[in-house]
């Protein structure tokens, strides 16, 4: 049997969901035998490949790089899973949305100037900080998403429960506390 091509990506988030993924411990070994990890922050692949079966997406869509990547992912992937609260609800990254339309500007100001200890200046050059979107969005507000895996981060057993079902080719069904936000 051909191994499932799995990808994981990290958009606007804290990487906590990927940490939790690593907490799968020995199941990671099982997994390694069943899947092929074709793209991930923990794998050294530069370009998101074609023909991916399942992609776990951590993080909200915050900037133009995120936006470009998520459209590419959608076009090249069969099944998208919103992985963790930032992907599902936009969570903490979206708290800047409350600041109104010029929120992106004030966030940059706060991060690079107000709270800077040295050299308080906003990075201007291209490619250093991708332009922030006016509004941070959950992944499904931008592209169609098949499955949702809430949690901040989703505990390892929850990730396992989903992965096992996905590997078996089933529509994953999470219930009760497995769907808990936060």
């Amino acid at each position: 049997m051909e191994r499932l091509k799995i990808a994981t990506v990290w958009l606007g988030g804290c990487a906590g969901c990927h940490m939790s993924f690593l907490d799968l411990d020995e199941f990671l070994i099982d997994l390694a035998g069943k899947i092929e990890l074709v793209y991930s922050p923990i794998a050294d692949v530069k370009e998101y490949p074609e023909g991916v079966d399942v992609c776990l997406i951590e993080g909200a869509v915050c900037n133009e790089d995120n936006l470009e990547l998520i459209h590419k992912i959608r076009a090249r992937t069969k099944v998208l899973v919103s992985f963790g609260d930032c992907a599902v609800t936009a969570n903490v990254p979206a708290m800047r949305n409350q600041l109104g339309l010029d929120n992106a500007e004030s966030v940059l100001q706060c991060a690079y100037v107000t709270n800077a200890q040295y050299n308080p200046v906003k990075p201007k050059e291209d490619g250093i900080v991708p332009p922030l979107l006016e509004k941070v969005q959950p992944v499904h507000a931008v592209v169609h998403v098949e499955y949702f895996l809430p949690g901040c981060p989703p505990p390892a057993d929850r990730i396992k429960a989903l992965m096992v079902q996905v590997l078996e080719g089933k529509t994953p069904k999470l219930e009760g506390t497995q769907l808990k936000f936060g």
Binding site: R74, H140, H144, Y147, F148, K173, L174, E175, G176
Partner: protein
């Protein structure tokens, strides 16, 4: 006060009547076009000509053809002068003597008038609303006398049931059954409330009735109070209707002085008082439980029913709540009999209905037609169709709770059931005509914004659901929405309609649903292609 006294007043009035009566519209519509000045000029002209013994200049209520105001009608000549100004008013005197005048005249025998059948508006434009004697001259308060002296409360309820009158506030609940329920509810203290919180944008029937013939409402309330055993009434009027409030205050004062309100009316043990409660700009207070909260001086938030107001209403007492037009029908029913009334209209919708005809139509104003009159008769024959040769596209009835009826359904008769079948409602009587230039999605958005702003915020589906439905409609109008947004909108319409606490939320989706039903193409034309397949749906779970 006795029946004889009523006759005396009528005779005195008739005896003093002058040969010619110039009826000058003093309702809010014409007043805003300076009918007050017109009346003053007319009075001055009459005195200048030394005709004060022959001509009476009478301020009256609405004469229906509001778009042509200020209106002056001369009796017995039947001449109807329109768009009268202070300047040309005096020349009306010349005209009624057969001379030439530069004042435009309208044909009082045009379809706009001849197709009308006046019960509620019978006195409107005829009586002086600020003089109770004028109402008595039209046999006013005789019905109340007959009811109090010749009928038992049970008879009164039975007559109402037989008449087949249904609530004119919108839902069309049989009035007689409502009266019967309140009458049967145990309780020493009961209330009668008149709902004059006419909140539908585009509706002004109740305002006109209150401004033109306030006593018919008071008489109707008194009859209802006798039937159900109440001794206190409230009229809840919008603050936006200062003239109606002033005329009601005058009417109540006059009725009290004459002993037609207060203790021992017509020398019977029956006593009944009416107080006015002024609203303060909240559409939701048209909903009966919210209205009662407001009368109690609280935030006008509705509460779940049951218990119905008939069992537990104002201050926890059994309460009868009808709207202005319903009460205005009452005196005529007891004057002419239940059979007379039941013979007018259709099998299930009896009597007449007053509509406020407005929007993209030639003749705007008030019309009263028998139930069952086809919409086409109303908008095309009476209303004269769209102005400037335009095409009528739809007719909106029922305001923010109603729907848009497309031109191809204009042959529908107006009655509760037929309008319901088309996804609209009779509503309180606002009828807005729309022409080809009207964008239906924008109309839906307009009404949704209205409901969103007027939602009281108590229940979640209405408070948050109207916001989301409005967002989605905005998104469609901005050409940013896809087919999945439209599906989300439809799903939300269904949910808000079925789960909201009160009528406001339950009917808020109606304008959207009805425009979706008849003008779906207009929505679809605004959609963006969806590159990402169907919208995600909630993962199904069975846990509870």
């Amino acid at each position: 006060m006795t029946l004889n006294d009523l006759f005396q007043i009528k005779e005195t009035e008739l005896f003093a009547r002058k040969k010619i009566v110039l009826r000058c519209c003093m309702a809010a519509g014409c007043m805003s076009s300076n009918s007050k000045g017109v009346k003053e000029q007319l009075e001055k002209a009459v005195i200048d000509a030394g005709l004060q013994n022959d001509i009476e200049v009478r301020g009256v209520g609405c004469m229906k053809l509001c778009c042509e105001g200020p209106l002056v009608q001369a009796d017995p000549q039947e001449a109807l002068f329109v768009k009268v100004t202070e300047k040309n008013a005096p020349s009306i005197l010349t005209a009624i003597k057969g001379g030439k005048t530069d004042v435009t005249q309208a044909d009082p025998h045009s379809a706009f008038f001849t197709k009308q059948l006046s019960i509620v508006l019978a006195n409107s434009g005829v009586v002086d609303p600020e003089r109770i004697e004028s109402y008595i001259t039209q046999d006013g308060y005789q019905a109340l006398h007959d009811v109090l002296t010749e009928m038992t409360p049970k008879d009164v309820v039975e007559t109402m049931v037989k008449s087949g009158l249904r609530g004119r506030g919108g839902a069309g609940f049989p009035t007689g059954i409502k009266w019967g329920t309140v009458a049967k509810s145990p309780g020493a203290k009961k209330y009668v409330i008149c709902n004059a919180d006419e909140g539908d944008p585009g509706a002004f029937m109740d305002r006109s009735v209150l401004e033109s013939d306030p006593h018919s409402v008071l008489e109707g309330m008194a009859i209802a109070a006798y039937a159900v055993g109440a001794d206190q009434g409230f009229i809840y009027v919008r603050a936006e209707y200062p003239l109606a409030i002033a005329r009601l205050q005058t009417a109540i004062k006059q009725a009290k002085i004459m002993g037609l309100l207060g203790a021992g009316i017509f020398e019977t043990p029956f006593h009944f008082n009416v107080d006015i409660r002024i609203g303060a700009g909240a559409f939701v207070c048209g909903e009966e439980t919210a209205l009662m909260m407001s009368v109690e001086g609280k935030r006008g938030t509705p509460r779940p029913r049951p218990p119905f107001p008939a069992e537990s209403g104002l201050f926890g007492c059994p309460t009868l709540l009808n709207n202005v037009e319903t009460f205005a029908n009452v005196p005529a029913i007891y004057r002419n009999g239940a059979e007379w009334f039941a013979n007018i209209g259709t099998e299930k919708s009896k009597g007449t209905k007053v509509f406020a005809l407005a929007g993209k139509i030639k003749n705007t104003g008030l019309i009263e037609v028998p139930m069952g009159t086809p919409l086409r008769t109303i908008v095309e024959e009476m209303g004269g169709g769209a102005p400037d040769g335009g095409q009528i596209k739809a007719v909106q009835t029922g305001g923010p709770s109603g729907g848009c009826i497309p031109a191809e359904h204009l042959d529908t008769p107006v009655d509760y059931e037929s309008l319901g079948k088309l996804g609209s409602i009779m509503g309180s009587g606002g009828m807005i005509v729309m022409d080809e230039s009207t964008r239906m999605v924008d109309v839906a958005r307009f009404f949704m914004e209205f409901c969103m702003d007027e939602s009281c915020g108590k229940c979640i589906p209405c408070r948050a659901g109207t916001v989301q439905m409005h967002n989605l409609l905005e998104k469609i109008l901005q050409r940013k929405a896809t087919a999945r947004d439209l599906a989300l909108l439809e799903e939300l319409c269904d949910m808000v309609r079925n789960t909201s606490l009160c009528g406001l939320g339950q009917t808020a989706p109606n304008p959207t649903l009805s425009t979706l039903r008849f003008f779906r193409n207009e929505y679809e034309a605004l959609l963006q292609p969806d590159a990402h397949g169907p919208r995600s749906t909630q993962t199904e779970t069975t846990t509870k």
